[in-house]
């Protein structure tokens, strides 16, 4: 070994040089990978600015002339303007965020801070529902909402959030509340605060990071959800954005991909905004809790 080392010594680069080369190699691999990852999205953006004929002729990557015709035609839609779909999605997603933040935090507070009877039993049941596939409850839920006359309204999309059905967020919040020193509640209790006041004035404000993570993920998942609106909403005026895209895809023929691609890109904008503002929180949330993201 020693002899070999000496033999190669003159050709060996210094450590700094080797580090630089290694860094260069890693960066090139990472940059190439990153370009490949975002290429489909760039393609979507560029294509949305092309005319239909140009999308299909694939003459060049760049549009010969930038035109927003696709956005105008897509937004106008056929029977209903795409603005309606955005409004519906916004209403449902906002209600879902508010519902999850409040309902899940109330329930998490009960599990983390109040010693009530049979708590371990309920806790075990709640944890059990986290792993339950959504499809297993889909049909009885549909029957229930059908009997309540809520089919073709937003209620089936919102009510589960008001009832803390997404137990994962409850668990996330429980873990967070456990990190808040109990002495704070006890001091308040001695000062005569009620349980609700402790929740409202102490725990709720202190659990802000968990609430924000819940809000972001609830927004993204509700906004992207396709199955639930597909099952419950049949009136086009109530369609959410994913349904609107699906409607456009199945009604427009091969001739008009332009408006469809334009609306697809537009529908990603709320998600991209969330990404730009909360990117670090999203990624940290996934890294620390294993949320599926």
């Amino acid at each position: 070994m020693a002899i070999a080392d000496e033999a190669f010594a003159p050709q060996r680069r210094s450590k700094a040089q080797r580090d630089l080369l290694a860094a260069l190699a890693i960066h090139s691999v990472l940059i190439a990978g990153a370009l490949l990852m975002i290429y489909p999205l760039v393609w979507l953006f560029v294509s949305s600015l092309k005319t239909d004929t140009e999308i299909f002729s694939n003459a060049s990557f760049w549009p010969s002339q930038i035109q927003f015709q696709n956005y105008i035609r897509g937004w106008q839609g056929a029977a209903v303007s795409f603005g309606t779909f955005f409004r519906n999605s916004l209403v449902v997603s906002t209600a879902a965020v508010i519902g999850n933040v409040f309902a899940c935090s109330l329930v998490a507070f009960a599990f983390a801070r109040i010693d009530f009877r049979f708590k371990p039993f309920w806790f075990a049941l709640m944890m059990g529902t986290i792993m339950l596939p959504h499809h297993a409850t889909l049909i009885p839920q549909y029957i229930l909402f059908h009997k309540l006359g809520w089919v073709n309204t937003f209620m089936p999309l919102i009510a589960p959030k008001l009832l803390a059905v997404d137990a994962f967020f409850v668990f996330l919040m429980i873990q967070f509340i456990r990190g808040i020193p109990r002495e704070i509640d006890e001091a308040a209790l001695i000062d005569g605060a009620s349980t609700f006041m402790i929740y409202r004035m102490i725990i709720f404000p202190l659990m802000r990071p968990a609430l924000i993570a819940t809000a972001i993920f609830t927004f993204v998942w509700t906004y992207e959800d396709f199955l639930t609106p597909l099952v419950y909403l049949s009136d086009i005026g109530l369609y959410t954005v994913p349904q609107g895209l699906r409607l456009m895809m199945s009604t427009t023929g091969q001739s008009s991909w332009g408006p469809l691609l334009a609306m697809s890109l537009l529908s990603l904008v709320p998600l991209l905004i969330v990404f730009l503002f909360f990117q670090k929180r999203l990624i940290d949330g996934i890294a620390t809790t294993g949320l599926k993201g």
Partner: protein, 313 residues
């Protein structure tokens, strides 16, 4: 737990001081729990039992459920070739997409775990597809990218390859959906990266002193210590892969075609339940899915005894 035990005397004092009785704690506890309790009985726990009952009935929403015993399950197992197809498609999707996704995730996490600049930016870019990937918009885009006159074939043409019509060819349609899943490897990569950061640097120093090369270090230090995270990612990705719905629905335009090659389990369940209103049969399918996911998860847990290394053992 130990912190709670230490705080116990203080809490007892506080309770005595404020006179918080057991009755009050029970009342408050159930009051705060009530949203979830209602949700549990009406929307999760209750329905799971209801769907078990429906799975033994013939039920179409417009008639009363009629008890048929094990008929639905018998049909699933013996007389429904489309169910078998759906099961096969889904299993093929799970066993290809999950390992590929995890392999890419691990590779990128290892690259990002070095002391290089711009890690935050790379992490964000690689994560972005995971955030957007579940949307209909991306599925629509994917359909166009893999069309006969799409981008993928344009690129293949540079290499002189005349690509097939990926979406409308039964041999390739499923692989486009697998590709869409693999493209979203960013979120498991983020979890891997967090796990890699947890590995104590002393272990790498020790390996270095022992003269272990880069590959030996990876095999004897990094990989064993990462197995709990690999296990976690594997279980989570597997469970969600079994339930994949949107990509197959959009890419096949709701049909599971061509030739049922993208007929995912959930797509067939949706079709039976909400297009044909065979709700009893769809309930049996849902319960079979619960059983399949539970079995797959149980096997993964059992196998973990042989390959997952926990630091405290």
């Amino acid at each position: 737990m130990s912190a709670a035990a230490l705080a116990a005397p203080a809490r007892a004092a506080a309770k005595a001081a404020s006179g918080a009785s057991v009755a009050r704690r029970n009342r408050d506890g159930y009051l705060f729990l009530s949203p979830w309790l209602i949700g549990f009985f009406c929307l999760t726990g209750g329905p799971i039992l209801a769907s078990l009952y429906f799975s033994f009935t013939d039920f179409s929403l417009f008639n009363e459920p009629a008890w048929v015993g094990l008929e639905n399950y018998k049909r699933l197992i013996f007389d429904d070739p489309r169910y078998r197809t759906a099961l096969g498609v889904t299993l093929a999707y799970v066993v290809t997409s999950v390992p590929l996704k995890l392999a890419f995730a691990l590779a990128v996490a290892l690259l990002l775990n070095r002391n290089i600049s711009g890690v935050g930016l790379y992490r964000a870019i690689y994560y972005l597809p995971s955030l957007l990937g579940g949307s209909v918009a991306v599925a629509v885009m994917w359909r166009k990218i893999f069309a006969y006159d799409g981008v993928v074939n344009d690129m293949l043409l540079w290499f002189g390859i005349d690509g097939p019509s990926w979406i409308s060819n039964p041999d390739y349609a499923l692989s486009t959906i697998v590709a869409l899943a693999v493209w979203q490897f960013g979120s498991p990569a983020v979890i891997f990266l967090a796990g890699l950061k947890q590995i104590p640097p002393e272990l790498y120093d020790a390996a270095d002193i022992d003269g272990a090369g880069r590959f030996a270090t990876f095999r004897t230090v990094t990989l064993p210590l990462l197995t709990p995270i690999i296990f976690f990612n594997l279980v989570m990705q597997m469970i969600s892969a079994f339930q994949a719905f949107t990509p197959s629905f959009i890419i096949s335009n709701g049909t599971g075609g061509p030739d049922d090659s993208t007929l995912f389990y959930t797509l067939y369940l949706y079709e039976e339940g909400f297009s044909h209103f065979r709700m009893g049969y769809a309930s049996a399918m849902a319960w079979a899915l619960v059983g399949i996911i539970a079995t797959a998860t149980a096997f993964t847990f059992i196998s973990s005894r042989y390959w997952v290394h926990y630091g405290d053992r």
